[in-house]
């Protein structure tokens, strides 16, 4: 197997070239846009804060970039006291 690999091993430059092309296409598209996650985070916090008291540090937003779809994960810890206080209003 190792010996076969040795003979089959062509140059790695085509791999480098392809990886760069894919990466740079993505980076160029995103270069002049504001950080999407930061914008989302700010607006999501604003919406939640209208209704419940939350600590900004308890809001975790992550984005996983996949090949065809990406996942936006929002994890917010709301203290029970915050919900009660808001519900009373």
């Amino acid at each position: 197997m190792k010996l076969l690999d040795f003979f089959k091993r062509g140059g790695s430059a085509p791999v480098a070239r392809e990886r760069l092309q894919v990466l740079l296409a993505y980076e160029r598209n995103n270069r002049n846009q504001p950080d999407l996650v930061a914008v989302l985070r700010e607006e999501i916090i604003a919406v939640i804060a209208k209704h419940v008291q939350i600590n900004q540090d308890d809001v975790k937003i992550t984005m996983d970039r996949g090949a065809t779809t990406s996942t936006l994960e929002i994890d917010i810890h709301i203290p029970n006291a915050g919900i009660k206080a808001s519900a009373a209003i």
Binding site: G11, A13, P14, A16, L20, L24, E27, R28
Partner: protein, 271 residues
């Protein structure tokens, strides 16, 4: 009015300082008045590569802050009469530079010199942005290697958005200078080829500097390679690049692998 050219790359260690010294020396030898400015405040090295490290009295920060006159800080090269160096400060940090201070220094130098070459620090932060801020042209030094090409692409984005020219709706003329090119490895598909780099970056090519032992020898003795060993392959490639920078039409020669005598006699080809 002289031309302001920034030598930049994003990534460190690709040859910005070596290239600034080599290009500047050839331009000066051809009769142009040239000044090299080291923008790497805190980590200056252009003085060392130029062999002027013991002659530094005042620096760029002193001049921008009014502690010294420009004429006091400029160091005249001992080999080429029309070549000058404005060193960076070694003791201050890069926040010591202000945009107004840099603007004033560059505007004064541009009146007196044909070429103002700005040796950028690595990175994309303030220091690098100030080095490119007032540039008319940019030499983007790139190694045929993924991280260097990626960083060059990032720098191209900054040249198109953060420079004074870009903000005024004009463009900084960009050139790619490929350094440390190994013809043999490129031929074997082990290294990105010149065509690959140019296609990815879509910026015209200024020159191809082959990997060459003379470059290290020259920096060891504190001389631009173009003055130390003018006949060596890297020096000749720098000389051609400098002529292209002046607008001359010099045919581009892609370095080819040197074959050993035995291989040549046997007519062997590298697969």
């Amino acid at each position: 009015m002289g031309k302001v050219v920034v030598v930049t790359s994003g990534k460190g260690g690709v040859g910005k300082t070596t290239s600034t010294a080599a290009l500047g020396a050839v331009l000066a030898q051809s009769g142009k008045k040239v000044v090299l400015i080291d923008f790497d405040v805190g980590l200056r090295n252009l003085d060392l590569v130029m062999g002027a490290e013991r002659r530094v009295v005042f620096d760029l920060v002193n001049v921008t802050q009014g502690q010294a006159k420009l004429s006091q800080a400029l160091i005249r090269d001992k080999r080429v009469e029309s070549l000058f160096l404005l060193p960076a400060s070694q003791t201050r940090d890069k926040d010591a530079l202000t945009e107004e201070g840099v603007a004033s220094v560059i505007n004064t130098l541009r009146e007196k010199f044909d070429y103002v070459l700005c040796d950028s620090p690595a990175g994309i932060e303030r220091g690098a942005q100030l080095a490119m801020r007032f540039a008319d042209e940019a030499v983007i030094v790139t190694n045929p290697e993924v991280s260097s090409v990626r960083d060059s692409d990032r720098i191209i984005g900054l040249l198109d958005s953060k420079t004074l020219k870009a903000e005024q709706g004009e463009t900084v003329t960009k050139h790619v200078l490929v350094t440390r090119y190994d013809a043999g490895r490129a031929a074997r598909g082990e290294m990105l080829s010149i065509a690959d780099v140019l296609e990815i970056l879509s910026v015209p090519l200024l020159g191809i500097i082959p990997e060459n032992q003379g470059v290290l020898r020259a920096s060891n003795v504190g001389s631009p390679v173009t003055l130390d060993e003018p006949t060596n392959a890297a020096a000749r490639a720098y000389a051609d690049a400098a002529r292209r920078l002046q607008g001359d039409d010099v045919p581009m020669v892609t370095p080819v692998e040197k074959k050993g005598l035995l291989n040549r006699l046997l007519g062997r080809r590298v697969a």
